[in-house]
């Protein structure tokens, strides 16, 4: 009886132990993480240009065609990163850009040279990306807004997908749409002066240039002037310009020291593709406003190849071929050579060469004929070569620059010159905080 009791107790204890095992604890300890500020980038640049043959003055050489420009551009980017329950990485990028520029040619929108010659552009952006690191896929969407004093405002939308393969390659596709509204501000000589004397019999907009050289728009409703009130503010008419882009890219790690990529954009633009204050002077001396086709197809293809030479030198090369439906063709070649003086300090000299053939609608000052259908004297569409050269300095010590959170400091200077006699200097700073 005692043996039977002990046996029963023993069996009971064995059965109890069998059911007393707890589940093994999860050793990975994975927990979703909310979006958290990961990085702040601040980029600031000062650009200073001297040139003539401005598009506002129809490519006129000399003092009246002055095209001197200064631009103080600033951009702040905030990157937030988090992980969801399915171990997917979510990235939210917020950006804000503010540029202030002066442009000597802008003053000649009024033929007296007294129009406002400066302006401010503000452009916020927002982008969200979800990445599945296990599958090697990602998906993203974004929006962009830009407003530039007196000239235009723009809304942009984008979506992107990418896929990594097992051979260290990655495909990506991005589609972007920009929907711009161009304010139709014409050169002053094309505005009627004191046109209020001419009564209107129907709804219309009349522009008047005052003695001070300022041009205003006045809205008429049934022949009655409607202006200077909060409800009926004078409005400048606008025209749309839409740009649609599909970007295809492929990158590949070739070996431990070499990787490259190819990117191709398919671009279609439609709408008002010129600018209303760009003059053209005919060979007769008479001036008009540039007239460009309402459609444009662009095809740029870019190639990058980066090679880590030895232990301290990197070769960053880039080549782009471009062609469009306006007959413009260009080649761009860029070589940058970062040299690591220490593991955290590098100097990067660079050189960029660019060669462009003219768009078929371009002609210099007083060359266009009055029988031409499309015409422009904007030297950005002329035939020219340009060179950009300079050097950058980058420091990124593990304990930060001056303070722990300032992880990277970059300074870069470039000199730019075109064979159109345009010369410019640009100095840029980038601060990265983590």
């Amino acid at each position: 009886m005692k043996k039977l009791s002990l046996s029963v107790i023993g069996m009971y204890l064995m059965m109890a132990q069998a059911f007393s095992q707890t589940n093994a604890t999860d050793s990975t300890g994975y927990k979703p993480k909310k979006l958290k500020l990961d990085e702040i980038n601040l980029v600031s640049s000062y650009y200073d240009q001297t040139a003539d043959k401005s598009a506002v003055m129809g490519g006129e050489p000399g003092p009246r065609g002055v095209a001197n420009v200064t631009d103080f551009a600033n951009g702040l980017d905030l990157t937030f990163i988090g992980w969801d329950k399915k171990k997917r990485k979510n990235t939210l990028a917020l950006g804000l850009g503010i540029d202030y520029h002066t442009a000597a040619s802008q003053a000649y929108v009024d033929s007296s040279g007294t129009a406002k010659n400066d302006g401010t552009r503000i452009y916020p952006t927002i982008n969200w990306t979800r990445e599945n690191e296990q599958k090697g896929t990602s998906f993203g969407i974004g929006a962009y807004y830009s407003a530039e004093h007196n000239y235009y405002h723009s809304i942009g939308l984008n979506a992107s997908v990418s896929k990594k393969n097992k051979s260290n390659g990655e495909f990506s596709l991005k589609v972007v749409g920009f929907f711009d509204k161009i304010n139709m501000i014409y050169p002053s000589e094309f505005y009627p002066v004191d046109s209020l004397k001419n009564t209107q019999s129907s709804d219309s907009i009349v522009y008047r240039t005052s003695a001070s050289g300022q041009t205003q728009a006045f809205v008429y409703n049934n022949g009655q002037l409607v202006s200077n009130s909060d409800k009926h503010k004078p409005q400048t008419p606008t025209k749309p310009r839409n740009t649609y882009t599909a970007s295809l890219a492929f990158s590949q790690i070739i070996n431990q020291r070499l990787q490259g990529s190819v990117e191709m954009d398919l671009v279609y633009q439609t709408g008002y593709l010129g600018l209303p204050f760009h003059r053209v002077f005919y060979n007769t001396g008479k001036d008009t406003i540039e007239n460009l086709p309402s459609q444009r197809f662009k095809l740029p293809i870019g190639f990058r190849l980066n090679y880590f030479l030895g232990d301290r030198v990197i070769l960053r090369s880039y080549y782009r071929f471009y062609v469009d439906s306006w007959g413009l063709m260009s080649n761009t070649f860029n070589l940058e050579v970062p040299v690591k003086l220490t593991p955290f300090l590098s100097v990067s000299p660079f050189y960029r060469f660019y060669a462009q053939t003219a768009a078929r609608y371009f002609a210099p000052y007083k060359v266009h004929s009055e029988t031409d259908t499309y015409f422009t004297s904007n030297y950005a569409l002329a035939s020219f070569n340009s060179s950009l050269f300079g050097a950058g300095f980058r420091i990124a010590p593990p304990k930060g620059v001056f303070i722990n959170s300032l992880r990277t400091l970059e300074i870069r200077y470039a000199h730019y010159m075109q064979t159109t006699d345009l010369n410019a200097n640009i100095i840029s700073f980038n601060l990265t905080f983590k």
Binding site: N41, I253, I301, R412, Y416
Partner: protein
């Protein structure tokens, strides 16, 4: 010049792509080996898009969204 680009593309596609393990990517993962433009180049790219007739395929604008080409 296009032929040089095609040559680069050929090198990219025909080159013997060695299988590079994660622990062998110390040079590839260097920030200056990145296959994109630097942050600090952003405003240079903008200036080029205003002064030149071509754009795109370089992490910058392709047109639109600005008073450029």
């Amino acid at each position: 010049m296009l032929k040089y680009g095609l040559l680069l593309l050929t090198v990219l596609s025909m080159a013997s792509c060695a299988h590079v393990k994660e622990y062998q990517k110390n040079r590839i993962n260097d920030s200056e080996m990145s296959l994109s433009s630097r942050h600090v180049e952003k405003n240079e790219l903008n200036a080029e898009s205003y002064r030149e007739g071509s754009s795109g395929a370089n992490d910058g604008k392709t047109g639109g969204g600005c008073g450029c080409n």
